[in-house]
């Protein structure tokens, strides 16, 4: 599969992720629920705006109407990029407005999913000039995110025993509850599932060396992120990480072609 095709696929999937993210924020704004959790007034101190003028500027910049307008603009850009492709202007604007949205929450609304969204959008910016560069940027960071997380779990005994996984699932406040209850009660499941997650993440870079292995890895990845949605309510992670998969496939293709013709 060529770089242009995979870049196009990645653009569509990233646009879908941004689309849903923006609608969620508009939903929360419309119900007045954002201010109650993290007031705009508190942003100044979080961002260390040293002067009264600075804090006042932040309060205007992140006021409800402006923030809502930015989300509407993000939706429009997402639709535009999905239909017309990631032109340099659209992708830069989408990146800028997504960073603005992250700033509203002191850095991120939903942690790692916001970080990967910024990475994916910066890949679209790069890719508007050279699709290969954009794909390599996003693909390599996506692969690294699995590896680093697996490594971090791998050094903790509680992850190898399954205790950490059981504790997280049991204490999850956001889930498809009937499924969560079944998984919590299935104590035999926790340890092998935990070991499988560690191995999947740590070995993820190695899957790049075989076409069959990468297809397997991406399929498992989709199930992994879907499972995280079911048990922890992490829907944003599902969409944005899957959006990076065309880039991961491109990296795997590059590695495979180097292996077939190392010179």
């Amino acid at each position: 599969m060529g770089a242009s095709f995979l870049f196009r696929e990645m653009t569509v999937l990233v646009s879908v992720a941004v689309f849903f993210q923006s609608i969620e924020l508009i939903w929360l704004l419309a119900r007045g629920q954002v201010e109650g959790v993290l007031a705009v007034r508190s942003l100044g101190s979080r961002l260390e705006a040293g002067s009264f003028v600075g804090r006042a500027v932040w309060e205007v910049l992140f006021s409800g109407w402006i923030f809502a307008g930015v989300q509407v603009l993000r939706i429009a850009l997402a639709v535009l990029m999905a239909v017309r492709g990631a032109g340099s202007v659209a992708s830069q604007l989408a990146l800028l407005l997504t960073f603005y949205s992250s700033l509203r929450f002191g850095g991120s609304f939903n942690g790692g999913s916001d970080s990967m969204t910024l990475i994916a959008l910066s890949g679209l910016v790069l890719g508007a000039y050279d699709p290969r560069a954009g794909l390599l940027w996003v693909g390599s960071l996506s692969i690294l995110s699995y590896f680093v997380n697996g490594l971090r779990k791998g050094i903790l005994r509680d992850w190898w025993s399954g205790a950490a996984l059981e504790a997280f699932i049991r204490s999850s406040e956001v889930s498809i509850v009937p499924v969560q209850m079944v998984v919590v009660r299935a104590r035999w499941f926790h340890r092998p599932a935990s070991i499988a997650v560690i191995l999947f993440q740590v070995l993820f870079p190695l899957f790049m060396f075989s076409k069959t292995a990468i297809l397997f890895a991406l399929g498992v990845g989709i199930l992994f992120h879907f499972g995280n949605f079911v048990l922890f309510g992490l829907n944003r992670f599902f969409w944005i990480w899957v959006a990076t998969y065309p880039a991961v496939a491109f990296v795997a293709e590059q590695i495979a072609s180097r292996g077939a013709n190392p010179l």
């Binding site: 849903f20 969620e24 924020l25 629920q33 954002v34 959790v37 993290l38 979080r46 961002l47 260390e48 705006a49 040293g50 002067s51 600075g54 804090r55 500027v57 340099s88 202007v89 830069q92 604007l93 800028l96 992250s102 700033l103 929450f105 002191g106 850095g107 609304f109 939903n110 942690g111 790692g112 916001d114 970080s115 990967m116 990475i119 910066s122 960071l141 690294l144 995110s145 680093v148 490594l151 971090r152 950490a164 504790a167 997280f168 204490s171 999850s172 406040e173 956001v174 889930s175 498809i176 509850v177 879907f226 995280n228 949605f229 922890f232 309510g233 992490l234 829907n235 944003r236 992670f237």
Partner: protein
């Protein structure tokens, strides 16, 4: 480039009134791949907060999950305030 112009303009305008806070946010939001915490799903859920009012999801939440994500944010902010 629009982005570069906006970033430079933003820093020029806000630099006198912003110390390191926004810079930390920029760094934290962008490419913190070596800082595993920002890609750790378990950490992002703020798990460990038991609540009598869990957010019960349906299948549609795969697409839109505003209540659930807001709960994650609340838990994360509480963790930050607690210093955990």
């Amino acid at each position: 480039m629009i982005l570069l112009t906006a970033l430079i303009a933003g820093w020029i305008v806000f630099l006198p009134s912003i110390r390191s806070g926004a810079a930390r946010v920029l760094f934290r939001a962008w490419v913190p791949v070596w800082r595993w915490r920002y890609f750790d799903e378990a950490g992002d859920t703020g798990c460990g907060h038991s609540s009598s009012d869990p957010v019960r999801l349906g299948p549609a939440a795969l697409f839109l999950n505003p209540k659930g994500n807001l709960r994650h944010l609340e838990n994360t902010l509480r963790d930050l305030e607690d210093g955990s």
